[in-house]
Symmetry: C2
Subunit: 394 residues, 2 copies
């Protein structure tokens, strides 16, 4: 790979990330009818590959691929799993680790949920297991949401531990994982950990272009939306029951129509999923390891070589696919980001309301990490060091 330049930069933001050439080429797939056999075959295979990505072992679970964005996943949860017509099904607990947990809480509220927002003790931290257990014992929550990686802070949650706690203390609560910046890079065992609904998007840990809302629902979520729930779902496009019949048909190789799928995006997702899971469960575990190694290298460099502080306060709870970093004293994002872009590295500013102007973010997911022919990570670190040095002189 050639060195990045301002004319041909690399996207080192926490999504959209750099894409593999084959994934990108699949975006230009020739046109296909969305209900004719060739595309149905691709959709069928894609939904099947999702089972491996999510480590789902129950055939009654179901994957969903819907035109939209990661954000739409929150509506899928809120519109379908919150039934505001009953006291027993309107309570939601949001285990909050940043901006994206806040937004999920807002979305739940829009659909009539009574939301308990369990805030972390500090920005960059996470609510303790004790505080979660205490909350779970006070109220029956219809849904409990965990933001696996909050892209605003880079805080990684221990989903296994929290899900185990919820499963023990409040077994009827639906366990929801926002995996937008995690699934494909961080370990998530849908079946073993008793997850009920996980949502994500292609442009981060999966490594395919944006434009899709990807979700995975447990058998008991499907039973709730298809059978148990009596009140109408207050949404049309985000109605999970409509989509579940489409996804089941498509995965069975039968044409079905509710809304025209994004044919080319699904081809690119198909290629990305093949790359992630094609060599079996070991391949994806190796992918997690590669990301953890790269993340450690980046965080060590930022802390030790650059003398900077990362936003995630606990290294054991720091994301492996991105790093949020406090700016050096006297340097602003208005200086740092254009200076990096001029060297061909696009980074992201801050987004957490309490510290937005004080930090920046680096994404390190997908081919930038696993394709050893790429110089992305080393070039980014080297350039960051030089740019900070140059800016510090002024």
């Amino acid at each position: 790979m050639t060195t990045p330049t301002d004319e041909s930069p690399i996207a080192m933001v926490p999504g959209p990330i750099e894409f593999d050439p084959e994934v990108l080429a699949a975006m230009s797939h020739s046109s296909q009818s969305h209900v004719a056999a060739p595309f149905i075959h691709t959709f069928q295979e894609t939904l099947s590959l999702l089972r491996q990505l999510f480590f789902s072992t129950n055939p009654a679970d179901q994957g969903f691929v819907i035109s939209g964005s990661g954000t739409l996943g929150w509506d899928l949860v809120a519109a379908n799993l919150i039934d505001a017509s009953l006291e027993s099904t309107k309570q939601a607990l949001v285990i909050n680790t940043g901006f994206f947990s806040d937004s999920f809480a807002t979305c739940l509220g829009v659909y009539g949920a009574k939301v308990t927002n369990l805030a972390p003790p500090a920005v960059g931290s996470y609510p303790s297991l004790e505080s979660i257990e205490s909350a779970l014992k006070q109220t029956h929550y219809q849904v409990v949401t965990i933001t696996h990686v909050d892209t605003s802070t880079g805080v990684l949650q221990n989903v296994q531990e929290i899900a185990s706690l919820i499963h023990r203390v409040s077994p009827c609560s639906f366990i929801i994982v926002d995996g937008v910046c995690s699934i494909g890079v961080e370990n998530l065992q849908f079946s073993d950990w008793h997850i009920d609904f996980a949502l994500t998007a292609p442009q981060k840990a999966i490594g395919a272009p944006s434009g899709l809302s990807i979700a995975f629902a447990s058998a008991r979520v499907l039973e709730y939306v298809e059978v148990t729930r009596k009140s109408p779902v207050p949404a049309f496009y985000a109605d999970l029951k409509k989509w579940s019949s489409i996804m089941k048909a498509m995965e069975a190789g039968k044409p079905a129509y509710f809304a025209t799928p994004a044919v080319q995006n699904i081809h690119s997702l198909n290629v990305a999923l093949h790359q992630i899971v094609s060599a079996g469960p070991g391949a994806i575990l190796d992918r997690f390891t590669k990301h953890a190694e790269a993340s450690n290298k980046i965080k060590d460099f930022v802390i030790n070589d650059l003398g900077l502080q990362i936003v995630a306060l606990d290294r054991d709870h720091a994301a492996n696919g991105m790093t949020a970093i406090y700016l050096p004293e006297g340097i602003t994002n208005a200086q740092l980001l254009p200076a990096m872009a001029a060297q061909g590295v696009v980074l992201a500013g801050g987004i957490h309301k309490e510290i937005a102007t004080k930090y920046f973010r680096i994404g390190h997911m997908g081919v930038s990490v696993v394709d050893k022919s790429r110089v992305d990570v080393d070039y980014t670190l080297k350039t960051l060091k030089q740019v900070i040095k140059d800016l510090s002189k002024n």
Copy 2:
């Protein structure tokens, strides 16, 4: 262009259509941060080009490009323009011409609208102006919906005439146009005809891959959702007020974030819009003419050479980008569609509930019509004639 084969077929369905190579190539655009300058420039330009596509002359109107599908456009209308908390803002009139009008009505009902479904006198027909005027005089409708082309029947509505009637009899009603199978192929003058909200998708008359919900809102719709409406919008992802601030910022060249846009899809839409409007208003009018000519040629052939009947009962109210055709006596879609696909032509079956098994559909939009180097239309008609002849022998 080479002759289509079953290995390299042409999509002659009413969307997704065949795409221009440059449009398709733009789908593989290298990754970009969705809030960095290069992509913002593309988004800005795309939103500006939409003004020309919709023939909007009021700078206070606003275009929207949201990850999703045409279907999402119905939610945008229903969630934002129907306020079910007030009697005065919950009535909707659906001027029905088929399956897609039915579905729009269903979507409006999901958001609490009291829907008056003005059915056509027969499948393939359309409600008379008199019946629309009579309905408008009985009740104040918050929204009146017109399906410009109902893709299930191929019926084309005279939007100008109907909008003029609504504007005269019920000037406070929002005039909504479902332009999913029309905008880019059929004339729609957003400003001159007093349209308030028009929705579409890229994969039909515009000629870019699916994955986007495209909409255009009048200044008074924006005033309603941003200022007048007092009750909360019962949706998060489909909340127009959230999106309007994003679209205004992006069109002004400023970064804004609500949900990650489909970067590659927007690049392809950008190229498609450039192709449609780049040579000024005359170019798009010429595009309409070319589609009308091709449509007439196809319909004449189907009626006169093949002796078949088209579903749209009135030639003046037949779509120019697609044709719905009753099957010949004794031939089913289970025979016709695979036989055509074996010759490299993918057609669509029926979708209107009353006649679904009795008819099929041909799409004739975009490069298949305007690119004179392509053989798509002639090859489709020739193949259709031969296949029907062969099937009739058995």
